[in-house]
């Protein structure tokens, strides 16, 4: 399958010649990752989209190999609060200009005291994404050189994008909406578990 996909590159390449000598088709890349690294789950959702589920310790190795295979555009890094499983899921999106395919590398970490190694040595644009996730979810990224205050100015509350953060209760306490409209807020909303944050 790997060899089969190699000759497809030139036709898809928008630039002259080979964009990257090692770039291969998306299914081939997934297959190669599966052969190289033990303990990863791969899934090709379509010809342009693949998912790799991996242990946090092995995510650097997977991303390095993907980069060598042509998936060298770090699109974005997102965090998902899986509150029912008590985990955070981090999704690293990488894009290949050679095959025009997107591969998502998914990994989950513990929700208590969350911490995961930075991928800045591999993909430098991750600096800003990790800063944002540190502020919005409270996930620590040891190795990131710039984990400073980002968007929220003078913030004293818990990380606001966590699902157990009650935005209405926080805004009432901080902005004093009840000073003027003490009876306009339905009391059941104040006791809600923060579901309306979604």
């Amino acid at each position: 399958m790997v060899e089969d996909s190699l000759d497809h590159t030139k036709a898809m390449d928008p630039l002259k010649g080979d964009y990257k000598p090692g770039s291969i088709k998306l299914e081939g890349a997934l297959e190669r990752i599966k052969r190289l690294i033990d303990g990863v789950e791969v899934e090709a959702r379509s010809i342009k989209r693949g998912v790799i589920k991996v242990d946090p310790k092995l995510k650097d190795l997977v991303l390095k190999n993907l980069k060598e295979m042509g998936f060298d555009h770090f699109v974005l890094l997102t965090c998902i609060d899986l509150i029912d499983e008590d985990r955070f899921e981090l999704v690293y999106h990488t894009w290949s200009y050679g095959t025009k395919g997107l591969i998502m590398v998914k990994t989950t970490i513990d929700r208590e005291d969350p911490s995961i190694g930075s991928v800045v040595p591999i993909f430098r644009p991750a600096i800003t994404y990790e800063r944002e996730i540190k502020e919005m979810f409270g996930v620590d990224f040891p190795g990131n050189p710039r984990l400073t205050q980002f968007i929220l100015e003078d913030w004293e509350g818990p990380p606001p994008m966590r699902k157990d953060f009650n935005a209405l209760q926080y805004s009432v306490e901080r902005f004093g909406t009840d000073i003027r409209y003490p009876k306009s807020l339905p009391p059941h909303l104040l006791n809600d578990g923060g579901d309306d944050n979604e």
Binding site: E153, A167, L168, Y170, R174, I179
Partner: protein, 201 residues
């Protein structure tokens, strides 16, 4: 707000500080009449309401018929139009701009977000009531208010200035503790904040 913070000030029925209308002499009345027909509107946009301003400025509605023109800097402006929702970060800049403006100065709360938060009523980053932080002379309700509503507010402000009722800027100085206390609850003033506590002359 406790009684200690509010020393001797007047409160309206909603608990907001108000100020007595000052006595005006003949010269002051003439000057107020004249200044109400020559005002500069600070070109400062905080939210989505800014899209209503270009039609006001330009030939369709032509704000200059009323003697009102856009101004780029707060130190030369008379009117601060708060166009839409204010995040905590923006509020900090609004207060700083407002304190740089010269007296007399007037504030419009434009859109429902400035009144009670509007569609950001449960947001963790958006303040709900601008009147707690800066004194608002006129609120324009709506989401969004059309330029006709803005002109209605302009006309009303001219009448209020002519009668000597637009005293939000005096209110800010007389009841500074109220506004400053609310400001300190939501943001911190940096070390380079230029102005000291305002004094009513």
């Amino acid at each position: 707000m406790t009684d200690d913070e509010q020393k001797g000030g007047l409160l309206d029925q909603n608990g907001y500080p108000i100020t007595n209308l000052p006595e005006r002499g003949f010269v002051r009345k003439v000057a107020d009449w004249a200044s109400s027909r020559s005002m500069w509107l600070l070109w400062y946009c905080t939210g989505c309401g800014a899209v209503e301003l270009p039609p006001c400025f330009t030939s369709r509605y032509d704000m200059e018929r009323y003697g009102i023109g856009p101004m780029a800097t707060p130190r030369q402006a008379d009117i601060l139009l708060i166009t839409g929702y204010l995040s905590v970060k923006t509020l900090k800049r609004v207060v700083r701009s407002y304190e740089q403006m010269n007296d007399p100065k007037y504030v419009f709360g434009h859109g429902s977000c400035t009144i009670d938060g509007g569609m950001y009523w449960d947001s963790y980053a958006t303040i709900k009531d601008v009147g707690l932080y800066v004194p608002v002379d006129i609120y324009i309700a709506g989401c969004m208010p059309r330029p006709e509503a803005i002109f209605h507010a302009f006309e009303k402000l001219q009448v209020m200035i002519g009668k000597g009722e637009a005293v939000g800027w005096r209110n800010y100085k007389e009841n500074y503790q109220f506004f400053r206390g609310n400001q300190d609850k939501v943001f911190k003033r940096g070390p380079n904040w230029a102005l000291e506590e305002p004094v009513l002359k």
